[in-house]
Symmetry: D2
């Protein structure tokens, strides 16, 4: 038996499910799982189809900077076969994590970014993304703003991990802000990247309790674990076509 | 627009969804939410249908003993209109909570249970349940074992709250056992009552963290909050036909 | 054996614990639980002492508006003896919840608030608070801003419940904002009231998962449970002198 | 300034804290954090002292079998400097994970265990543990029962990760049992190893929600993340002397 995932988004109207499922039946298909969401605010949008079979190995590009925890975590999952993907390369604006890429035998492209070379650097990135036929991009604590051009080429296909419980603490140093505010819970958020910084559709969030005894370093350490778990969950949802974007929100079929 | 919930369980075969949704369409119905679960281990069972409209107010009987927290919580929700039900009466084997029933103006039937009068007591219970046309029963920390006869008359319609994270700590005093074992998390479990004590299909569970500083009394206090929240969630799932029993497990559509 | 809670806050220096515990020993006292927190950023502030014995029943004033869930919850806990307090009265700017106060036999003062009578209304409130020797105030979804005068009279003794995971969604309708943003988790926050709206020291927070299938009404319903649990936890921490305010944050000894 | 952790356990009596803190003061020490727990059931036991300075790098031995997720996670943390330890070697009864040890350049000892060679195998293990002066052992899904001899030599110094929410599902395949029982939450438990299988003092537990849509494979996958996070938290608590064993329970100072 071959398993296929069919993802459809279209304007709500009578008879959609009947005709789609009727069509599946006519091919002797059996539905193992069906889930539908009707957005109650009426929206006109064209029908979009996506089919996905687990045999297709998607190609994921990894962008990193200096933080290593998400990188170690993703490469561990990758090597153990937990993620049904290929990672053709890692791009970084720093050389700090090259040794990890080497350890896991993945090509590492050091593309530094300065005020002056930003356009040139992005061209290099785009070349690599096209050359390797990349399906989606993961920003594993990549500390650079992605250009509008790249975002539009990879619409709803760039996944970021943000180190706070969005929309709280969108500023520069979320853990410092959380410490200062004295919150009792910190969080992490994985979202698709849009042109509006930190405002893209949220795929997954999770939290952990903290208390007055925790210093900023403690929050950062606890956050490392949150970030890597939340990011990997978001990647899996994306991979398995269980995350669908509509109207700057995600519909999660799981 | 009238909202109707249609709950079907039957043997999996090609074309079920197509034909059911085709039928809905033929009546100009529009599907707002559809969810299907295919049990992967093949089971033969006959199709069962249930329709439910929010206009139908179900009648819920409350069984209590001496603990008051779930009772206060449910009656508060009831009076505030949060639960779309009628509570025609409360049954108890003790008189301790009568004052609460009075406060909320709900008939209270004191039916004591001893070794000798058990059969007679259950007859009284059954009479009341039939007289008031009760749809389902909630055991809000009712400290008596329900007879097989009553269970079979209200199959999958008796909801219990158990004060541990089942299947852990099924013995007499779960909080004492949890304390003794030194667990770092305690839980509560709401389940349908079957003839096998504490082994019915689980509807909802939740947990809370505890530590070495907490005494047994602290666990009991924390547990009170867990129990009332978990029980009320289970009742709502049952009420809205979002809990379906299959093979001693629940399928929760939410 | 008599149990006493001793709460001290002072400037950190060598020998504090040695001399305080030495003093306790000289009175043949035995320490059952000690907990200390040193704020790493040096702050000069005078030593403050508080002792507390469970025999002292604190007097709590309840302020409400139109939402009833926290009120039902607190009065249920109060009547069941879960809270070691007295509630001499309830104040509300609306008459909607008077019937609940009556049901629980607690005096209900209807003090409507308009633009013109605000000062007069607060005088009435203060009179009541003084007449009944109120120890602390709980705003159980009281939808009015408290005056600076009242706040300064009850410094760190007014507890509010806010219906979001602060500092996220501080605007008018947090659940609507959470729905619009498409968050996967919503929260509630209990904090001491200061002159800066929604920015007082956080006592307790908790969260619950939500998904795209939940409407705004669903979020509000789930939020009701969060709010009442979080508020009651904060009240207990305050009551048992386990919440100490320092530098707009709380130190929670539990 | 030099930071030192002082861990004391002894019989409760008047004046302990006064005299210990007096002694610290006499050496011009300043207490940054103090926490005490009095076990309410009186127990006679001798005073035990432990001091710990972050400068001491503890030596941790890793025991694994075939599951790689905890191993990848721990080695990632180790290489990134998150854990203040040395890992002199990895022991395994299978050769499957040798390639990971190689990748991270850690000596890997393959010590197969059969019914016949069990005593001999343990002698080899003990030799290695003694040769490298190992401080504590981590069983990262090591699928063998540890001998009483080894346990007594490393009392409260062998940390195991168990793949269920103990004491639930102690049998052979916890995820299968959890699936069969239809629980709504699964968990993982890290505990010190004692002679009683799965009954040692619990250091840390955590949980994740599951539903009817999850297969056994889904539970196992979700469990992998739980196991690695819970195990790493337990290791950190042990390392920082924040876990103290008393009467088959842990006291966690954090």
């Amino acid at each position: 038996m071959q398993k296929i995932t069919l993802q459809i988004s279209c304007n709500d109207q009578q008879g959609i499910i009947a005709s789609v499922t009727g069509c599946i039946q006519s091919y002797q298909g059996n539905i193992m799982y069906i889930n539908q969401h009707v957005d109650q605010i009426e929206n006109r949008f064209n029908m979009e189809w996506n089919t996905y079979s687990p045999k297709d190995k998607q190609k994921m590009a990894l962008f990193v900077s200096k933080y290593d925890h998400c990188l170690y975590d993703l490469l561990g999952r990758y090597h153990s076969g937990e993620l049904n993907i290929k990672i053709p390369f890692i791009i970084s604006n720093h050389n700090d994590l090259k040794h990890i890429a080497n350890r896991f035998e993945i090509p590492f492209y050091y593309i530094p970014i300065t005020k002056d070379n930003k356009t040139k650097a992005e061209e290099l990135q785009l070349e690599l993304l096209e050359k390797y036929n990349i399906d989606f991009i993961v920003l594993a604590r990549y500390m650079q703003i992605i250009s509008t051009q790249l975002i539009s080429k990879f619409k709803n296909r760039i996944i970021n991990i943000y180190h706070s419980f969005l929309p709280a603490f969108t500023g520069a140093k979320p853990y410092h802000s959380a410490f200062k505010r004295g919150v009792k819970i910190i969080g992490a958020t994985s979202h698709y990247v849009t042109e509006y910084l930190d405002e893209g559709p949220i795929i997954e969030q999770d939290i952990v309790r903290v208390s007055h005894i925790h210093t900023i370093s403690d929050l950062i350490l606890k956050g490392r674990d949150l970030e890597k778990i939340v990011l990997s969950r978001a990647i899996k949802l994306h991979l398995e076509k269980k995350a669908m974007v509509h109207d700057n929100k995600t519909i999660i079929f799981s």
